[in-house]
């Protein structure tokens, strides 16, 4: 009977024991530690904005800044709620991708495009729904959306740099 153990090298054993990419739940902390400081701060700012937005939404602080306040249409409020939900789905998917270190760049690219769609449609809606009467709330709302978009772009650039350096 052949000795199976002698056929397996230590290198092969290590390779087998090493978790495969996509199933390695490293956690957010270690995932962030492997990335640049700029990536880390952008991610934390993004999470901070998300949390603040969530609190402000439920407290009712952002109600005057929403298109529904200018148009008075229920549909604008419903549209905002749907997008609000979709944004949280994106945050969840992004966090999961980062935790597993799996296709982080691609997930952020998709999120950035979705955010761009939200920004453009929101801008058009604000402009069409009488932004002249409520200029400040419109600018405030759009700057939040644009800040999220620029943070996502920075995350993509940083992740691309990291992949190039590896």
């Amino acid at each position: 009977m052949p000795d199976d153990k002698s056929n397996v090298t230590q290198e092969e054993l290590d390779s087998l024991q090493r978790p495969s990419p996509g199933t390695d739940l490293t956690g957010i902390r270690s995932a962030l530690e492997r990335r640049s400081k700029r990536f880390k701060y952008c991610w934390l700012t993004l999470m901070g904005i998300t949390l603040s937005y969530l609190i402000a939404y439920f407290v009712g602080l952002i109600d005057p800044f929403m298109p529904a306040a200018a148009t008075g249409l229920v549909v604008d409020n419903q549209l905002h709620q749907v997008r609000f939900l979709l944004a949280f789905v994106m945050v969840t998917v992004g966090t999961t991708a980062l935790s597993f270190d799996w296709r982080v760049e691609e997930i952020f690219v998709i999120s950035a495009w979705v955010q761009a769609y939200f920004v453009v449609t929101a801008m058009v809606r604000q402009w069409r729904s009488g932004a002249d009467e409520a200029l400040l709330p419109s600018i405030a709302m759009l700057s939040i959306l644009l800040t999220i978009f620029s943070l996502l772009i920075t995350l993509i650039i940083e992740e691309r740099k990291r992949k190039t350096d590896l």
Partner: protein, 129 residues
């Protein structure tokens, strides 16, 4: 199957362009209210460019034999988001699909979404291969 799905996607894009042209030119597409009319015009104007840009970028990448998994995935996610927005919010205020072209778009939309999702999944495998 992959090529059939791409053909389905392009056919749907042509159908959408025809519908957009009708909405812009035909006064028969009147939403329930003036605000609804604005919303319809705004969304139509934005979405038509997404459809045109998506179809052109995909065709360009096919022509240059570049990886296009990410492009198709972005388009798939946007298509599903637009569908969700329409299905959950906008259908009731925009218009009743009485025109044959509008009805064709409504009927073929789930087929298009399934086809586009299949293309997106398949494209990643093809890009790797």
């Amino acid at each position: 199957m992959y090529k059939t799905c791409i053909a389905v996607c392009y056919s749907f894009a042509i159908l959408l362009l025809a519908l957009f042209a009708l909405i812009v030119s035909d006064s028969g597409f009147t939403p329930a209210s003036n605000s609804g009319a604005f919303l319809l015009q705004d969304l139509t104007a934005i979405r038509i460019w997404i459809v045109i840009a998506g179809a052109l970028v995909f065709a360009w990448k096919v022509n240059r034999k570049e990886p296009r998994g990410l492009t198709v995935t972005v388009l798939t996610v946007l298509a599903w988001i637009m569908f969700l927005e329409d299905f959950m919010v906008l259908d009731s205020i925009l218009f009743v699909a009485e025109h044959p072209v509008a009805r064709a778009v409504v009927i073929t939309r789930p087929i298009f979404l399934a086809a586009l999702s299949y293309v997106a999944l398949q494209q990643w495998e093809l890009d790797i291969a």
